[in-house]
Structures are given as structure tokens and as C-alpha cells.
Amino acid sequence: MSAKSLVEEMKRGLDAPICLTWELTYACNLQCVHCLSSSGQRDERELSTEEAKKILDDLRDLQVFYINIGGGEPMVRRDFFELLEYSVANGIGVKFSTNGAFIDEEKARRLAAMDYLDIQISLDGVDAATNDAVRGEGSYDMAIRAMENLKAANFGQFKISVVVTRHNVSQLDQFKALADHYGAQLRITRLRPAGRGADTWHELHPTNAQQREIYNWLLKHGENILTGDSFFHLNALGESLPGLNMCGAGRVVCLIDPIGDVYACPFVIHDEFKAGNVRDEGGFAKVWKQSDLFLSLREPQSAGACASCGAFDACQGGCMAAKFFTGLPLDGPDPECVGGDADEALSIISRGSEPKPSMDHSKPVTLTRTKLSVSTAS
């Protein structure tokens, strides 16, 4: 079977997700301006430890190989290690994303002693000024301290995860050097207008010229750089980047949020993309296999306005979430279409009329946002 027909198979959906993100909590010590889940405060409907274990039982029965744990900051949950150990003991590998605040020397040693565990430290700048403008005061030092502790504990290869913005594209080489210094692997992903990111996307997303820079940089580094296949809209520039060239939402990708709602992907926390809840009868398996939303996402999708574009095979019209939260039609070009085909449509959508995320767990005071406007003005 060729790679292409394999992608066709994947578009029809799999028996179980291969990229399942589970956000354990909406609580977070930080308040990043581009947070995909608008996290900050804990939701009182959060799943209990018992409910969480029941989900892990279901995932084991579905033979889900590994899960991506995120939040919020997952380590604020008191049962964090308990759930981690339960998951791994059930044959489900874990990769978790953290801002590093809680990885002190003791926790680093504890993490280093576990098998089948990957850690992803979020960092959005190679210096405190660039990083903290987006992730908040002190967050750079926090991440570096966590990396030092993991290194000292001999954790092995962890990941440094960067959301690429207008302000850090020029630092890609330095991110790579930093990762090499820690024996870490670099992962860069695309900024999407999801969660609080919807409010800051217009100011933060890379310019068209920078997109070309990202594309060339990724081509040069090949498979050494992880991307979560998030830059496939850039394939329209020429040779395809490594990875699956498709939107996996509801087909191979999904999100379980902290209160058990199941969404098509982590970047579409909106009622329109909610497939069900793990607390419903039949649990996660039934949502994955039978929900109307997921079944419809596995049907052939229309290319719409992209149908006449020669690059459609390569770029697939880009990211559904990016279109949705910028107010663009789902069957047309991505807001960052490298051919500029979305520019006109984007320019006539009045700011504020785009769909808003269904939930907002931001803390009431957002100091970081004030900081951002200062730094972007300069």
C-alpha cells in the first residue's frame, strides 16, 4: 500500500486514536497569552481520580498505545503521579506537557525512574524577554530550572516544545542549540487561534515571509525536529515536510478535556466540535466509534474554494481549527495559506465576530496580557 492510500485509510478513521490528548486540569500556575485551552482556574466538574482511572481502563481495552497529557498544568493535580503510574502499568505510554514549575530535584528523580514516559517542557523564547512576554514573568527561569533538574537526574532525552510565533522564528537555530545542550529533542509547533490564542493570534502568528523561513528550516533539519505534523499547510511551498499530511481531527486525533468532554482535537474547544462526554453511557469508546460528529469528520471532506488550487494535494487546505476560530469557512483556505488565498476573506471578517471558545477558565486578572502589548508595541 502506498503512503497515499494509507493516508486515505486514516481519513476514514481508526479503531482507536493514535494521537489522544488528555488535559487533566484547567488549573494552571501560568496564564500564557496563547493558551489553547484558556486555562487558569480549576473547573469544579473536573474528573475524579476514580473516573480518570476508568478512562485509562477504557483506553487500555481499546489498545491505545500512548497518550499526551496536558492541561492547564497537569502536575498541579495531586493524583498526577498516581495516574501516570496507573497508565504506564496498563501499557499506555505517557508523554506529558508541562511548564516545568513543579519539576524540582526530587520530582525529576522520580520521573527519571519511570519507564515509557516522555516529558515536554514548553518554552517560547531562548531568552527570558522573548519567552516571558508570551508565557509570563518568571516562566523562562522555571523551564530552565526544570531542564537542569531533569539533566542532573539523568532523565535522558526529554523534549523542548516551542510554539512558533512572530517573535521567535529568528531563534530557531538557538532553540536547536539549547536542545542539543540538554541532550533534548526539539519540537516546534504551529500557533493556532485556539483558546486565548484566538485573541492574540493576529499579533503573534508568523508573517508570510517567516512561514517560508520556517518551511526552509524544517526542510533542512528533516526528521530531527518534531512538529506533531502541524505545519502541513506549508507543503504548498513545494516539497512535502516529513509526517502525515492531513488533518487528523476525529479521525486519528482527539481531546479529552478535564471535565470529560471529548473534542475532535485539542485546538477546537467549541460546542460545534464536541462529540460527547466520557461520563455518558458507553464511555470514551462509544464516543470515538459512534458519535455523529466523528463519523461525519471521517466522511470525505469538500475542498471548497481550495479545489481549484494546484497545491491542494500537498496542503489539504490546512487546519480546520485555524479556519474556524478566524471565522473562515471550513472548506476553504487556511488563514495562513501560503498562496495568500485567505487574505481577502480574512480582511473583511470583522474582529470579534469570529466564533468564541465555548469555555474560558482564565484567571480574572491577566497581567501577562498587559506585558504582551508593551512588548509588541516596541
Binding site: 500500500m1 494509507l6 485509510e9 476514514r12 481508526l14 479503531d15 482507536a16 493514535i18 489498545q63 498505545f65 500512548y66 501499557g91 505510554g93 515509557y116 516522555d118
Partner: protein
Amino acid sequence: MTVALESVLEIHPQVAVRPETFGALAYHYGNRRLIFLKHPDVVTVVQSLNSYPDVQSTLSACGVAPERWPSFVAALSSLETSEVVRERQIAS
């Protein structure tokens, strides 16, 4: 190692195989790689390796016609490279 009909193979102990309509997905917990087994017959053969003395006897037991053996040997070679299968370790 190159795989041949007389090779003695086993499924790698760190690999889990999950059936899918197109064949199966295999996941290697050690190198964290996801591998696609793109034909149901290949899946059957991989899952039967441990039960037979060598590749050839596995293929005949799984009902694979001899003219298809070379392509199965090639498929197993690439699975050996990605560590889905390996040379059988004699349990001591």
C-alpha cells in the same frame, strides 16, 4: 541481519499490535515508533512467528502461497529494521 526463509524470528517483546481495517498498527514502546502493517496477511504472519520454527514454516502455516514468499520476506526484513520483529532469543 537479513531475513531469509530459514530465519528464526519473533515479534519484538516491546511491540504491541492493534488490528485495523487496512491491516494493523504496531507500536514499539522502546523507540516510541508507530509502524503500519499494511496487509492483513502480514499481520497474521507477524503474529504467528513465535509459534513456528522459522519463517518458511510460518508462511506455509498461514496459508501464504510460495510465489508470495519473496515479498513477505522483504516485508519482514523491513519490519526487522524497524524492530517490530527480531531474531528469536532462546529463553534460558
